[in-house]
Symmetry: C2
Subunit: 190 residues, 2 copies
Amino acid sequence: MNDTKVRILAAGAELFRRNGYTGTGLKQIASTARAPFGSIYHFFPGGKQELGDAVIRSSGESYADLVFSIVDGHPDIIEAIEVAFTMAADSLVATDYADACPIATIALEVASTNEVLRVATADVFTDWIERGTRNFQTKGLHEAEARQLTLTLITSLEGAFVLARAMRSTEPLLAAGRAVRTAARSMLEW
Amino acid sequence: MNDTKVRILAAGAELFRRNGYTGTGLKQIASTARAPFGSIYHFFPGGKQELGDAVIRSSGESYADLVFSIVDGHPDIIEAIEVAFTMAADSLVATDYADACPIATIALEVASTNEVLRVATADVFTDWIERGTRNFQTKGLHEAEARQLTLTLITSLEGAFVLARAMRSTEPLLAAGRAVRTAARSMLEW
DNA sequence: GTCTATACACGGATAGAC
DNA sequence: GTCTATCCGTGTATAGAC
């Protein structure tokens, strides 16, 4: 893929994640990407919405790859969950509570205002749920349990990110991690 | 309190919740509140930020009152949790997936960009956690457990709202409700 | 205290030179 | 395909009439 296009996507991802979709201007993205303003419309003729759609889908996939590489590295489910939440907490602290979920802020902003982008966020979440379900199935859970645990994991992580960023504290993440492990244990006991 | 001020606060709460803080204009708020534009600056001399602060704190308190009135109406913890998540799901469907947490969207938007508003959202979450902890203590849990369960409840609800609004589905809320009940049961068994 | 008009910056988008 | 200049709407904020 073209180099400038990659920089524009990266800048958009970073700025949307931190400042939100409506809170980020295209001029700001061009400047951050060290790209001329017109290049945005060259690579994304649909303007801000098309760029937003591309950012949501690409960063959503990257984030899933990252999380699943962690989970796959730990065959034990309980340990994998613990590591995932701990790493999320570390990463938040390391970025001064800026980098949490790459699409959550956008998802809430556009849910009731921009159908195209809402569908993009929904597609990402749907993909995460399906990947997680398959993953937990390979670790021995039945499909219904695997899906329930995946939803628990994702919703807990997302909610913990909201509180953690607002309060500048890792406590919500650690508490959520404990709860998800409890939920997982209750499935594994049978 | 002055009538126009109340309408401005109500309009701000509704619009911020649905369209976000940066996505809502003061002119739009004045128009929705059927108030002259100048009145906003009359009642909130600090402009948009002062209005945002007031909206966060007042709607945060109202929402807590609502949720706790439900929880208090059900002495059994498990039942209270189930009712809370079911009612959240019903309310979401009734408003076409618009009205979830009144401050979550703002919280994510401002966490890294506006320290005054970030502190306002943090104060609201801190208050919720303290109220929830006291509430579960009166129902027989020790403080540490009560706080852990409260954090689990709030983070699960917040995260489920993100997915539910994006996917236009109540499944994440129902799954999160089940997980929180499991977490609660594991505390009550001892 | 209510309301209108306006200032000024920035938003997204486009045209067109190179 | 790169880059600049510009259009027009909307954003927040303010001044001041009533």
